[in-house]
């Protein structure tokens, strides 16, 4: 009970930050809206114009940023646990690019001469999941075939190699494919929540909701994965099945997010580390804190991307890389020094 309360207290600041940012992000745009009008519009008591702007233009975008950020961050946290490497993340392991391959392949295969899709666009997330799963499985397979030592590091290197392969495949498919689809795929690949609709929000939201029971069931495993393999085996944890299950969850989350917002990198890397510092990775509610941090990061990146050079919008993915890459380098230097 006490542990729950203290975890809640620790979660409060980041919850507060996300709420404040939500209000700000909903207010900021080509016509600025002060917070009181935003709140009024949200409560259904604003002017008609305000309500249209808030409910159909800005809120879907904000909601999608929050949900996609949470999904990517959770995927990153799970991967870091399973792979036992704090540098793991969906984009470093090639899973994000795998999802991109799936989507571009889908657009290419199911377009007719007139550039219309021959099947419903709602199958697109499924294609993303297939691509992400294929590349995830490939990375794991390569790493497990490797008889050498230090697998946690090797798996990252294999991931980088396969990510490069996936990028090349995407480029080729875009060039091979119909021109209209190509330009659509390109905007999507830069990683942006700009074209959000409520149905995207619903899809990612449902995906997250589906994952929560699994995470609750596996919460002991997730905590125990921090232990080294030997002690985990002694404590009676069937690591392989648990690992596979968590990997599948991570792949699913990555694919859902990537299918709807594109390849926003480095969130899955950064969020678990920030949450570790401000929340502690052994406290209950750690994963919740990770998810909120991810929401905050993507929402902040998207809001910044809108206000840096209006009326232009930068892709949110470019801004998350600016934060994420230096952190990764820091981890690299620090981790290695402590080993040496």
């Amino acid at each position: 009970m006490m542990a729950g309360v203290s975890a809640l207290v620790r979660l409060l600041p980041v919850m507060l930050l996300v709420s404040v940012l939500t209000l700000a992000a909903t207010g900021i745009g080509s016509s600025f809206m002060p917070p009181d009008r935003v709140v009024a519009a949200l409560a259904g008591q604003g002017s008609r114009m305000d309500e249209v702007i808030v409910w159909t233009l800005r809120l879907p975008r904000v909601a999608l940023a929050i949900l996609a950020g949470a999904a990517l961050a959770l995927a990153g946290a799970l991967l870091q646990r399973v792979v036992r490497n704090p540098m793991a993340s969906p984009s470093v392991l090639g899973i994000t690019d795998g999802a991109a391959v799936g989507v571009v392949l889908f657009l290419w295969l199911f377009s007719d001469q007139a550039n219309n899709l021959t099947v419903s666009i709602h199958w697109q997330p499924l294609a993303a999941i297939a691509g992400a799963a294929a590349f995830g499985a490939l990375v794991i397979a390569l790493a497990s075939l490797d008889r050498g030592s230090s697998k946690p590091l090797k798996i990252i290197l294999y991931g980088i190699a396969l990510a490069a392969l996936a990028k090349a495949a995407v480029t080729l498919l875009i060039i091979l494919g119909p021109v209209y689809r190509a330009s659509q795929a390109l905007t999507w690949l830069t990683g942006s929540v700009g074209a959000a609709h409520w149905q995207d929000v619903l899809a990612v939201g449902l995906g997250l909701a589906a994952v929560i029971p699994v995470l609750l069931l596996q919460r002991l495993t997730i905590r125990q994965l921090v232990l080294d393999p030997q002690s985990a085996a002694v404590s009676g944890l069937s690591l392989d099945r648990a690992q596979v299950c968590l990997l599948a969850v991570a792949v699913f989350l990555t694919a859902m997010a990537t299918a709807h917002v594109g390849a926003i990198g480095f969130v899955g890397l950064v969020a678990p580390h920030v949450a570790r510092i401000f929340h502690g990775q052994f406290r209950s509610g750690y994963l919740f804190s990770v998810a909120l941090t991810g929401s905050f990061l993507v929402l902040a990146a998207d809001t910044l991307a809108r206000i840096i050079a209006p009326p232009l919008e930068l892709p949110a993915g470019a801004l998350t890389a600016l934060v994420g890459a230096p952190l990764f380098l820091y981890l690299l230097v620090k981790g290695r020094q402590s080993h040496a």
Binding site: S149, A168, I175, P315, Q337
Partner: protein, 329 residues
Amino acid sequence: MRRTAIALCLALCAAVVFSLHAGLTFYTPQTVFAALMGGEGADALIVTTLRLPRTAIGVVCGASLGLSGLLMQSVTRNPLAEPGLLGVNAGGALFVTFGVTVFGVASLAGIGVAAVMGALAATALVFSISASTGGAGNPATTLLAGFTVAALLASFTQTLLLIDETALETLLFWLSGSFSDRPIGLLQLGVPLLLIGAVGSFLLATPLDVLRLDDASARSVGVNVGVVRLAALGLAALLAAGAVAMAGPVLFLGLVAPHLARRLTDGALPSTRQLIVLSLLMGALIAVLADILARIIVAPGEAPMSAVLALVGVPMLIHLLHRRKGLAA
């Protein structure tokens, strides 16, 4: 060894000749010959203004990257070192983009200076990060640092381009990494840099041979390890800068060429001097072949050469990772 070099030379000549013939329309040798002899007409124009420049740029660019990769690999004793993967090319690309968008640089010399500065800066950054991780330049750590620095620099480049839309149009194509539609004048930049790199590496060949032993043994025979390492990395950066200025950032070429060159030596331990010659030739050959493939596989479109190279380079990278058991130790 001499026979291998001659065979490679012949293969390169054949590839170059084929490159003049191949493309959207295949020409007969007579047409190409007539065009080179100053013939007129549409066909001659295509051969002399499109195919000849891209082939020449491919040769120079490939040779530069092949040698640059060899220098990085031997100086750091790291089989994974390569200007593309280590972010050196991304550094050159960022500085060129910065020069064009912020300072309005348009001259060849300006672009060249920017590319050289960027490549040197990125090299310094990546290798100082990898050195500061303790244990002089662990291969895996260097690769990770380079990969991340490359991602960071690329996202800067992307941001700059989005802010300046006119630059986007001129630079986007260049940034995709390709030999086609490049002004032939770029060779005035690439050839001198390649010459400096080649002559410099020949001068460094003997100390580099000694450096294959461990640092202590190299020091004991009177090699100034620090100076040699710095000079070789500097040359590698210069070579990469020339290639970036000509073709944009190209990945994997610098990784693949030296390894294939080593394969050709039949398990004998080749001297650095021999490897330099073979890497130059192999780099040029791969570049020309990749460029031909890029023209053919998605005809009538044109595939980015960088994608073609990745399709070859990734399996090779995975193979190298697999073979080196103690890599990350």
